[in-house]
């Protein structure tokens, strides 16, 4: 059984068909990519899977159960986490708080526990903080735990967002253009980091990425969409040599 199975998912915005009959099956531990030219509908696919929009048609199964129509926080609780193309951290609270809040679905205590500081509350808050600190140091962010994201360089903010997504303990991590805006040495570090995370956390990773070196060095399988429709899918080699892709995605240039 596939971890994530999307069947003929279609999304209209008014008259615009942003995603058309999109299907994908993703196995546990796989690392795959979704590529396509600007405005192709890639981010919309992520928004649909993460529950931000409800698809006009089609179904989305996660671990064999339908997650279509669930609220985003419920989808996250099921084990899908994501990052955003334009970084969406909570910029005015510490990095540590950012990571802690992303465990809201697994708080394990209620308002009364919180007022009374019951042993359960104290224990859970300790666990939440330990988990957060562990993740931060794992991603080399231990130093900035008490900084505000707004004061951090762009590249570090991207890492914090990945840490925040991991904090929800996902089985599937969706990265929306993780390398966007990074310089070439940062990109190298990112490639290594993603490979490590993939190995250590044993999760499936699905990324949208424009930078071909990232996609080619990490992903075993690539899907290409244009104007919402799938135009090709296959291994990196197949995609590299597919004339349709070269035409749609790369214009007249070659890879």
């Amino acid at each position: 059984m596939a971890l994530l199975e999307v069947n003929e998912m279609t999304q209209y915005f008014g008259g615009l068909c942003a995603v058309s009959e999109f299907s994908v099956a993703l196995d546990e531990g796989q690392m795959v990519a979704l590529i396509g030219p600007n405005g192709a509908g890639k981010t919309t696919v992520f928004n649909l899977v993460s529950g931000f929009y409800k698809p006009t048609r089609g179904e989305i199964l996660f671990k064999g159960q339908s997650i279509k129509g669930l609220k985003p926080h419920q989808v996250t609780a099921r084990g899908i986490a994501r990052t955003f193309q334009n970084i969406r951290l909570w910029f005015d609270m510490t990095v540590l708080d950012n990571i802690r809040i992303a465990q809201h679905h697994a708080l394990g205590y209620g308002l009364l526990d919180c007022f009374l500081r019951t042993p359960r509350y104290m224990q859970r808050e300790r666990d939440i903080e330990d988990h957060a600190m562990e993740l931060l140091s794992r991603l080399g962010l231990g130093e900035v735990a008490h900084e505000f994201p707004k004061n951090l360089p762009y590249g570090v903010q991207r890492l914090v967002e990945i840490a925040r997504a991991l904090s929800t303990r996902p089985a599937l991590l969706m990265l929306d253009e993780p390398a966007a805006g990074l310089n070439s040495s940062d990109v190298e570090g990112l490639i290594k980091l993603i490979a490590d995370i993939h190995k250590d956390f044993g999760l499936a990773i699905w990324m949208i990425e424009h930078q071909m070196d990232v996609v080619m060095s990490l992903c075993s399988w690539i899907k290409v969409i244009d104007f919402g429709a799938t135009i090709a899918e296959g291994s990196p080699e197949e995609i590299q040599n597919n004339p349709e892709v070269i035409k749609a995605y790369l214009g007249d240039d070659t890879i």
């Binding site: 931000f52 609220k71 985003p72 926080h73 005015d92 708080d97 708080l107 509350y121 929800t168």
Partner: protein
Amino acid sequence: MKRLTVPALLALLLAVLLWACMSGALNAYWQSVILFMGVNIILSSSLNIINGNMGEFSCGHAGFMAVGAYVSSLLSVALFTKSAVFGEPLLSPDLAVWLFPLVLLAGALAASVVGLLVAIPSFKTRGDYLAIITIAAAYIVKSTIENIGVIGGARGFMGMGGVMNAMTATANLPWIMIWVFVGTVFSVWLIRRFIYSTFGKGVDAISQDEIAAEIMSVDTDRVKLVAFMVSCGLAGLAGGLFAHILGYVNPGTFTILKSTEIMVMVYLGGMGSLSGSVLAAILMTLLIEYLRDAFGYINTFLHYISVIPDSYEVTQVWKWVLIPLLLVLLMQFRPEGIMGRRELADVFPGLRKFYKFKG
């Protein structure tokens, strides 16, 4: 040791206050100023959860205060004292001292349930629209009370003085001072525990980026619901105390002007700063008291220099020009208030020696 300092200080403060009230060192006027200070602290720090931490704009806090004021007043009068509305007390007046906290709690719970009136629309809408809804909710509460004849309607409801007298008859202590003090400390303590928990920090996450909050596992509807209920419930508690300080309640007290006054305190203190709200409530209470006299002097002065016609008197009413004006000026020139988003401990790190802040 560290954790004991603040409770010890508070106990000392209460002891000093009680001594000052009983020995006459504090006259009735200053006692009432301190009592209103307490009520205002509860009001501003509870509204701060919504208008500060959550970044919403609720303009109806006085409405929830009214619910608490009426529910607890009706209950306490019915239970502990002989009245025209309810007749003989249902319980022995001796019990008033013991059961009064429960009466206040009932008022708070009622207010927090009415808080749903605002919380549920807040799932779908934000900003200006929610502001309008909160004003509407406050007016619904006020008009409802005005139209219930048995409890006095627009004329108001009284008899709470009898309840306070019943307490004094049991033990001769300045009870209202005790209740207001305990209520204030309790409220600030409750709010602190809420907003510093990972659960409560969800409120800040919603204010900074609601979509990110929802996608990163925060059940935003639930967090908003809880935040509104805590905030409105504490407004109800403040209302209950307020009614028992005055001994009577009148729906005319709980207008949008009262809500504005509370909002000024929140914005003066700094949005999202609990210590700022407390500080601003203290300052505003003093300012309002000061204005009471000041308008008299201003009146005399303006007549003296013949700026206003002889037939016109500058009265208390001008408070309602000054306070909204203060809000406008504050938003215009120092929107971050006294404290910004910071707490006392951020401004004076030395305080950390005495207490584990942000615990």
